[in-house]
């Protein structure tokens, strides 16, 4: 590979080294004959080292605010293209390398080679390849390199998520993922062709170099929205997401939810940065889709009783919140309001980082729980925090952070988005020319999402970690090992740090936000978010101070002392674990209230006679959009296109012939 120019800048060199190390991390494990874990140890070491280098490069790029582009000259087996690190890329690289390093470390304890001699080397290899390909997606500067990395990312995700392919549900989830990923890629082919027609080059144009009011621009925006929306999991393009996240090994779920779906957001942010005058409907579309994804995502999450599916639906919710932020920023740009642009984009990007932290933490925590109790079914768990105290504490941190509660990081980013919305609606220092009612609706919608998320996570935490265990498991649940606890601890610590001292996060954020602005706007020197985040530190510390001050008053030794007893049973029977409130009953009122959308399925047993047989009641909330919208449509399409199936006969030489003929036809058609 040859890079033109006068050598790599320090940050670009570090990021490139990080990409190479992570990409190759799994190779030794594939070729080592002895399956005693050596390969996995080498891979973990390479991943942690590569992530460290990449992280250093990204931080350096953000702190210096420098951007660099390099031309890779094509050659034998090497695809040419443009590659570079700028603050916007660097900001997306931070969660990636954090979760890649943490995930690899976690994976060595969660999916050890000693226990899974054939599957583990494969998983380790694809995990590294996945991290490297996402990093390449974030740093590619032309369409060909981008699409190549995009495709490697899709395939590596597929192989990583189908690690446990002896299970039917995993194979089905993998297939659904692959189909959805390729539908998105197909739209992206159209997108980049349109972009090439508009700029007459495959190289990405600079920020703010295109005009947004034209018909091709509208087509470019819409294809980006659909193509990247499939990956981001924006409703109603999210159909692959819940089953894929649930089926994948937990550290792969963490990386998927924390970073891979963010590559869709990266695409939308990058493409919208090209335009200096986006029409108002761009922002309004994103804001609307954001509200729908956020509200519907959290509602579906409430109905779930599979811990990882529940977390997966929350990813859709958080993608919705991020999309709302981008929508606010775009509305700000089209009405020429700088505060809205800054607060919207700042909130969206910070929420993206925050979501990677707390959702990564939650998936890793869920993995520890599942590892310990041997089921994903929430209603079979209970009292886990007593057996896994540290995992319980870390999961609690993540749960409070994802609900946007102060003094944790989720609050800071939601605060920025709220502030943008309030400024727009109240008309403070800004005049919003269109979309005002929509923004006014977005504020209570975000509040509703916050309330529902709280309901969902108190349900999940309460039923899984608190109370008494509901079912005797075969093995005694045990706390996770150090290699699993350490990554969770790092992520939890970062959640607390960003929540209490958001200035640090904002310092990294501002160059990235500036990178979204047209070069002509003079933002190269940096931007300052119009938000008094210093107050968040003050209030967070005040909250901690009050809590610490009340503890001695409330818990000091008194003459009466502290007596132990059973939980108050209203004078009836001694409580049994089976009497505890379950996740399904906790969520029942909300699920009923929104039943028109959630379509809960209940299997009620018939009870008859004076001595009824033992019976089972079960209820679940299905993936409504997939089952009621996509599957009927696809079935109908399948019937219509049946005659064409004759072309698909399974003879590979003929398939190659098809490709050859297509290429010839395209060459003849090309001007």
């Amino acid at each position: 590979m040859f890079l033109a120019g006068e050598g790599l800048s320090p940050s670009a060199a570090l990021v490139a080294a990080g990409i190479l190390l992570t990409a190759c991390s799994g190779l030794p494990g594939l070729v080592l004959a002895r399956r005693d874990g050596t390969g996995q140890k080498i891979a973990t070491l390479l991943m942690v080292a590569g992530s460290g280098l990449g992280l250093a490069g990204a931080l350096n790029a953000l702190l210096t605010g420098a951007s660099a582009r390099y031309v890779i000259t094509g050659g034998f087996l090497v695809v040419g293209g443009e590659w570079g690190v700028d603050p916007l890329s660097a900001f997306f690289l931070i969660p990636l390398f954090l979760l890649a390093g943490c995930g690899a470390l976690y994976g060595s304890g969660y999916f050890p080679e000693a226990k899974h001699p054939s599957a583990a080397p494969r998983l380790t290899f694809f995990f590294g390849l996945l991290a490297a390909s996402v990093a390449l997606v974030f740093t590619a500067r032309d369409a060909l390199l981008f699409l190549l990395a995009w495709e490697v990312m899709a395939l590596a995700s597929f192989f990583a998520l189908t690690t446990e392919d002896h299970r039917k549900e995993v194979r089905e989830a993998g297939l659904l993922f692959l189909v959805a990923a390729h539908m998105g890629t197909l739209v992206l082919f159209a997108h980049f062709s349109l972009l090439k027609a508009a700029t007459s080059s495959f190289t990405f144009p600079g920020a703010g170099s295109l005009s947004g009011g034209t018909a091709p621009a509208a087509a470019i925006f819409l294809t980006a929205l659909v193509g990247f929306g499939f990956k981001a999991g924006i409703m109603p393009l999210h159909i692959w997401l819940p089953s894929a996240h649930a089926a994948a090994p937990s550290h792969v779920s963490a990386l998927m939810s924390g970073v891979i779906i963010k590559s869709g957001i990266y695409g939308i942010v990058r493409v919208t940065s090209f335009y200096h005058t986006p029409p108002a409907w761009w922002g309004m579309t994103l804001l609307t889709l954001g509200i729908i994804s956020a509200v519907a995502g959290v509602l579906f999450a409430i109905g779930q009783h599979d811990l990882k599916r529940l977390l997966a639906y929350h990813s859709i919710e958080n993608i919705g919140i991020i999309a709302m932020g981008i929508g606010v920023a775009l509305i700000g740009r089209s009405s020429g309001s700088l505060p809205l642009e800054l607060l919207g984009m700042g909130g969206a990007l910070l929420h993206l980082l925050n979501h990677a932290l707390f959702k990564g933490l939650l998936f890793l925590g869920a993995g520890s729980v599942i590892h310990a109790v041997g089921t994903r079914e929430i209603d079979l768990m209970g009292g886990v925090a007593k057996r896994l105290p540290l995992t319980g504490l870390f999961f609690l941190t993540g749960a409070a952070a994802i609900c946007g509660l102060p003094p944790l990081n989720g609050f800071v980013s939601e605060y920025l988005i709220y502030l943008g919305l309030f400024r727009g609606v109240a008309g403070i220092g800004t005049v919003v020319t269109s979309g005002l009612p929509l923004m006014a609706l977005a504020i209570p919608a975000l509040a509703l999402v916050g309330g529902l998320a709280l309901a969902c996570f108190v349900k999940a935490y309460g039923v899984v970690f608190l109370g008494v265990h509901r079912q005797e498991s075969v093995t005694q649940p045990h706390e996770a090992g150090l290699s699993m606890l350490l990554p969770m601890g790092i992520l939890a610590l970062l959640c607390v740090l960003i929540g209490l001292f958001p200035q640090g996060g904002i310092r990294l954020l501002e160059p990235a936000v500036a990178g979204w602005f047209p070069v002509s706007a003079g933002m190269a020197t940096g931007v300052t978010l119009p938000a008094p985040v210093g107050w968040i530190t003050v209030m967070g510390l005040l909250l901690i101070f009050f809590t610490l001050a009340i503890i001695p008053v409330a818990l000091k030794k008194r003459p009466g002392g502290i007596a132990g007893a059973v939980t108050w049973d209203c004078g009836f029977l001694r409580p049994t674990p089976r009497m505890q409130y379950t996740a399904s009953s906790f969520a029942a009122t909300l699920v009923d209230l929104f039943g028109g959308m959630l379509r809960p399925r209940r299997h009620r047993p018939k009870i008859s006679g004076p001595y009824p047989e033992p019976a089972l009641f079960s209820s679940h909330v299905p993936e409504v959009v997939l089952e009621l919208l996509y599957l009927p449509l696809l079935k109908r399409g399948n019937e219509l296109l049946m005659p064409l199936r004759r072309l698909q006969h399974g003879q590979i030489p003929l398939y190659i012939l098809y490709i050859f003929v297509t290429v010839i036809v395209l060459l003849l058609l090309a001007p």
């Binding site: 609050f411 109240a426 008309g427 006014a440 509040a447 909250l543 007893a565 939980t567």
Partner: protein, 302 residues
């Protein structure tokens, strides 16, 4: 400085009095003489001297529930302006923190309830989580209206604006808002017709059933926190309803105290003349409040 001292003094000492006034009002309606006005203070003093009984099922989360809840309400009380006087702390967007502090308190209370593993407390927790997220949008619609009318992004700016003039100008919007906020005030503070703080029939309660296992000083924290929450939310509500100002600082403080006591009497009256709703009716009323407040927002966006 005087204002700060009075603010802290009122915040720390006045909340239980509101409970006393409410129960005295209810007693008078029922033809009883009722407990002394200061009874809630005696109750608190007694609870803080007592020992505790803790369920064997519970962990540190159970004990931290009341503590964190009280701390959140205390922080929120520093953000709320009392009457015509700005709050001790105020900054752009403090109303968002204000709302999310209550959410944090709720998070802690619900987890403490679930920590006991009791089905009763689980029931109360589920109800609290369900109803409070339906109440959330109303508060934010109200904040939109106040922010747009005042051109300010802090609670102090919103509530110390000349609201009298605003009533003359956008009275219809504020009237809708007052209706919606009164519903939320009753629901958030567990008053009749949403919840009955006096019954001990676990199946019908929301907040009381969540704290069944709390005792001694921790129960004291719960009671004091609930009183303080009533005080803070009442201060928010009453400022919109009775936005009078005299020009004299001390007279304004007196006005605030009197109007708060009037609100307590009004709540007591509502509790006396109404029965508690069936649980299935509660979401309808909360959604109704949300729709009322959305109309209030629409009126000022024109």
């Amino acid at each position: 400085m005087t204002d700060l001292i009075i603010h802290l003094f009122l915040v720390l000492l006045m909340p239980p009095l509101l409970l006393g006034v409410i129960s005295r009002t209810k007693a008078l309606f029922a033809g009883r003489s009722g407990a002394p006005l200061l009874q809630p203070y005696y109750d608190l003093a007694r609870l803080f001297r007592k020992g505790m009984v803790l369920s064997d099922t519970t962990t540190w989360l159970f004990r931290s529930g009341p503590v964190v809840t009280l701390a959140t309400v205390l922080v929120a009380s520093l953000l709320i302006p009392l009457g015509n006087h700005a709050a001790p702390l105020s900054f752009d967007g403090d109303m968002i923190l204000f709302a999310y502090l209550f959410a944090l308190g709720r998070f802690a209370t619900i987890l403490a309830a679930l920590d006991t593993g009791s089905s009763f407390e689980g029931m109360g927790a589920a109800r609290e989580a369900t109803y409070s997220c339906l109440a959330e949008p109303t508060l934010f619609f109200a904040l939109i209206v106040l922010a747009r009318l005042s051109g300010s992004l802090s609670l102090s700016g919103m509530l110390t604006q000349p609201l009298g003039a605003v009533w003359a100008d956008s009275g219809a919007s504020l009237l809708l808002l007052v209706g919606a906020l009164f519903i939320i005030l009753l629901a958030e503070n567990c008053r009749i017709p949403f919840d009955d703080p006096n019954t001990h029939l676990e199946l019908t309660m929301i907040h009381e059933v969540m704290v069944l296992d709390q005792s001694g000083p921790l129960l004291g924290c719960v009671l004091y926190g609930a009183a303080l929450k009533l005080f803070v939310l009442s201060a928010f509500f009453i400022r919109i309803v009775l936005p009078f100002r005299t020009g004299d600082t001390l007279a304004d403080w007196g006005l605030f105290v009197v109007s708060l006591l009037l609100l307590a009497i009004a709540i007591g009256t509502v509790e006396s003349v109404m029965a508690r709703f069936r649980l299935t009716r509660i979401p309808q009323l909360l959604i109704g409040a949300g729709i009322l407040s959305s109309f209030a927002t629409l009126l000022i966006l024109r």
